[in-house]
Symmetry: C2
Subunit: 134 residues, 2 copies
């Protein structure tokens, strides 16, 4: 059995994939993968996800240049969550221009923006409007 | 609108929740939450998940004693992934007795067990057989 088939893919053929910064250990984002994009990720050495909204292969950074170089690949005990340790090119993982997507921090009953925008989305995306390509 | 309702809950009323060790930044596990268990997590200051397999509230550590003290709570840009930074009591998050569930590391086309079992599951769980309560 292939290492890909050992994973417990969902009914929709997808699994969540966490991207973690290999240096700072910060969690950068969570996206989705299918069998093909996981294999492409290993073959190409960069994170390749499945965009649920666009229903197509999403090479992370294909528009922004903010690719993620694969340093380590792990799965959990149930083999239904993927973990990528990556080098985040450009230091920006989020489509909002922040280094991580997890910028909403709970504080006293509200979600507070806790990370700076490093680059305006209008500067990052010259062709397509900035929206989460999930 | 309540901070809970600001999240984009799935059709099944659930969202994935990542538990990250607040000290080491290691990713410990991924489980699921609904509105109620997220509120309980905040109220009680410990991780409370929704067990998809048992279809009930799962107070992490209720059998093992390996509770997770909530230190920080975040959500991502799409507000559909929850991140808990926790203090892992007992230093063991996984039902297999390892400190993290992400012990399967990809190496040359295979998944290799890369973390030691710190405590045998038979010692951790005295009443119920050890299985992933997802």
């Amino acid at each position: 059995m292939s290492w890909v088939d050992e994973l417990r893919w969902g009914d929709d053929g997808l699994l969540p994939a966490i991207a973690q910064d290999v240096t700072t250990q910060e969690i950068l984002m969570v996206a989705w993968m299918n069998r093909e994009t996981l294999q492409l990720t290993v073959q190409e050495g960069v994170a390749v996800y499945w965009s649920r909204s666009r229903k197509k292969i999403w090479r992370k950074g294909e528009e922004s240049g903010h690719t993620q170089r694969l340093c380590e690949l792990r799965v959990d005990c149930d083999k239904d969550v993927i973990l990528l340790k990556v080098e985040q090119v450009g230091g920006i993982a989020c489509h909002t221009g922040r280094r991580s997507c997890f910028f909403n921090k709970f504080d006293n009953g509200a979600w507070v923006d806790s990370l700076p925008v490093l680059k305006a989305p209008s500067e990052i995306y010259t062709q397509l409007p900035p929206k989460a390509p999930k």
